[in-house]
């Protein structure tokens, strides 16, 4: 066993990296092919209200995030589809409202808010075992839902109009997908924090798309990439004593840029 695995927090960190990457690969692929990264960012930031609620009530902030991110998913989904409010407006409103609720609740909580920084920017080195169970449970839920509804999710992602005239309840499917994104946000908070969730939801899937002929394959490659980014980030942050969440995101971003540059060169050669 490598020496760093002697520590329980290191083993937990590795498990958190692997477990969160599974959800991130699956749901991130939908986020990328449907181009709903900004909605996902909105859901993640609204979840800050849940962190505040957790502190205020003295609960695990991760548990507080669940109702907030689900409410953001359903709220943004319904407002944009039913109330003819443009999507960026609805996202912006929820984003700011969630954060302000979080700030007020944390302010009302007596004393100092410990670990607040780690919920904003992630700290994979401090994942308690109880959170690993929660992450596993949410992973299973997401995996089962996507497995059961994969043809419906594929249809609404590729051609929502056609799905609708085929008799699918596209609004319900859309809201369900947004809720799965919300649960993925809960999973990712420990690893990269709510501010940077959007990067791990989009970058591995965006890179995977270049090498995938089907959505399931894209999900698998995205999950693997996410595992690589997380473990590499964890390792570098351990060796150089850096913030783990930020290191993970930076590695992902560098790979994303390199891949984009390779693609530009590839397409230039193809046209010559």
């Amino acid at each position: 066993m490598p020496d760093f695995l002697h520590y329980e927090f290191m083993r937990n960190a590795l498990l958190a990296a692997i477990l969160s990457s599974i959800a991130c690969g699956i749901i991130g692929s939908y986020v990328v092919v449907r181009k709903i990264g900004f909605i996902s960012g909105g859901i993640a930031h609204t979840a800050f209200g849940g962190i505040g609620l957790g502190y205020y009530l003295g609960l695990n902030p991760l548990v507080g995030i669940i109702p907030f991110s689900l409410a953001a998913a359903i709220g943004i989904g319904l407002l944009t589809r039913k109330a003819r409010i443009s999507e960026d407006t609805a996202i912006g409103a929820f984003w700011a409202a969630g954060m302000s609720i979080g700030v007020i609740l944390i302010g009302l909580t007596p004393g100092y808010a410990p670990n607040l920084f780690s919920y904003l920017f992630g700290n994979i080195l401090t994942v308690p075992t109880s959170d690993l169970w929660l992450i596993t449970l949410l992973d299973l839920l997401i995996g089962l839902m996507v497995f059961a509804l994969n043809k419906e999710f594929l249809a609404v992602s590729f051609d929502e109009e056609y799905a609708r005239i085929s008799g699918l309840k596209t609004l319900a499917l859309d809201l369900l997908m947004l809720c799965l994104i919300a649960l993925t946000v809960v999973i990712m908070v420990r690893v990269v924090g709510i501010v940077m969730v959007i990067a791990l939801l989009t970058i591995p899937a965006a890179v995977a798309r270049s090498y995938s002929s089907s959505l399931p394959r894209m999900m698998a490659i995205a999950a693997l990439l996410s595992i690589v980014f997380s473990i590499a980030g964890l390792w570098l942050s351990w060796v150089f004593d850096l913030a783990s969440g930020a290191t993970i995101i930076l590695i992902a971003s560098v790979v994303f840029l390199v891949n984009a540059i390779l693609k530009i060169r590839g397409s230039r050669q193809a046209t010559c």
């Binding site: 092919v33 059961a148 509804l149 043809k151 419906e152 594929l154 249809a155 992602s157 590729f158 051609d159 109009e161 056609y162 799905a163 609708r164 005239i165 085929s166 008799g167 699918l168 798309r209 995938s212 002929s213 089907s214 959505l215 394959r217 894209m218």
Partner: protein, 259 residues
């Protein structure tokens, strides 16, 4: 007269306050091959979407197969414009065609043996069998168009609605697509929205000119240059609406049918 499949009466549709369709009355009968011509913004796509139940009319009535539009899931095969698709989407030809079976399949279930057989059949009719595993991003415009037609056929529809199926394909492929429609019209009722004023006349049984309001032309009549120019607002090819060397048959209604 054969059974009416789509009946629109005094159909009006407003979009964002502006009228798109103004008092349209039209009926499509079993076995019809109706072409809807008209300038962009004339309401052609809107008309198809009303028939599909995607757009609610502001006033007037629409019935499709005797019921409200949207309630007839599975009897209509819809071929949308191919330009709206994200070509980078990781999906194969077969997966898109299988989507045509959605209305026949159940929630939480995988596509079954019959679904796969119908998809294979649709790909064979449209000449896509060799491309079944190809990613849609690697297809030409004409191939993607045939994929969309195959998807519509996979659902075993009675009525086919096509939105500019030749808009993004080269002239050679256009002929292929019209030949395909010629074969399909034997056992499908077809409504086709198009700009191909020159070619369609040889294939279709009726022509509707749509620019917010409707002007019908039955088989045998000549759509004069002036009426088309006034429709489009610029010079267009004359459309001589006559079935080529087809003897008058009893299947085509002889009297002037009110649209």
């Amino acid at each position: 007269m054969s059974e009416p499949i789509v009946v629109c009466e005094k159909l009006c549709v407003d979009r964002d306050g502006a009228p798109v369709l103004k008092g349209l009355t039209l009926s499509v009968h079993k076995g019809d091959f109706l072409a809807v011509l008209g300038p962009n913004g004339g309401g052609k796509t809107t008309l198809l979407k009303v028939m599909l139940g995607l757009i609610q009319p502001t006033s007037g009535t629409v019935t499709v197969f005797g019921g409200p539009p949207g309630a007839t899931t599975g009897r209509i095969g819809y071929v949308p414009q191919s330009l709206q698709f994200d070509r980078t989407f990781p999906i194969s030809v077969r997966e898109v065609v299988l989507m045509g079976r959605l209305s026949k399949s159940r929630l939480f279930r995988r596509y079954g043996r019959e679904d796969r057989a119908k998809a294979d059949e649709a790909m064979e009719i449209t000449g896509l069998t060799a491309l079944a595993s190809r990613r849609i991003g690697a297809l030409s415009g004409g191939e993607l168009q045939r994929v969309l037609i195959a998807r519509a056929l996979a659902g075993d529809p009675d009525l086919l609605l096509l939105d500019e199926p030749t808009a993004s394909v080269d002239p050679e492929m256009k002929t292929t697509i019209y030949d395909l429609l010629d074969r399909l019209k034997a056992d499908h009722t077809i409504v086709l929205v198009t700009h191909d004023t020159g070619t369609i006349a040889h294939h279709v049984s009726r022509i509707a000119c749509l620019n917010c309001t409707l002007d019908m032309h039955e088989e045998g009549s000549t759509l004069g240059r002036t009426s088309l120019e006034s429709l489009y607002g610029y010079p267009v090819d004359i459309v001589e609406h006559r079935a080529p060397s087809a003897p008058p048959t009893s299947s085509t209604p002889s009297g002037h049918r009110h649209a």
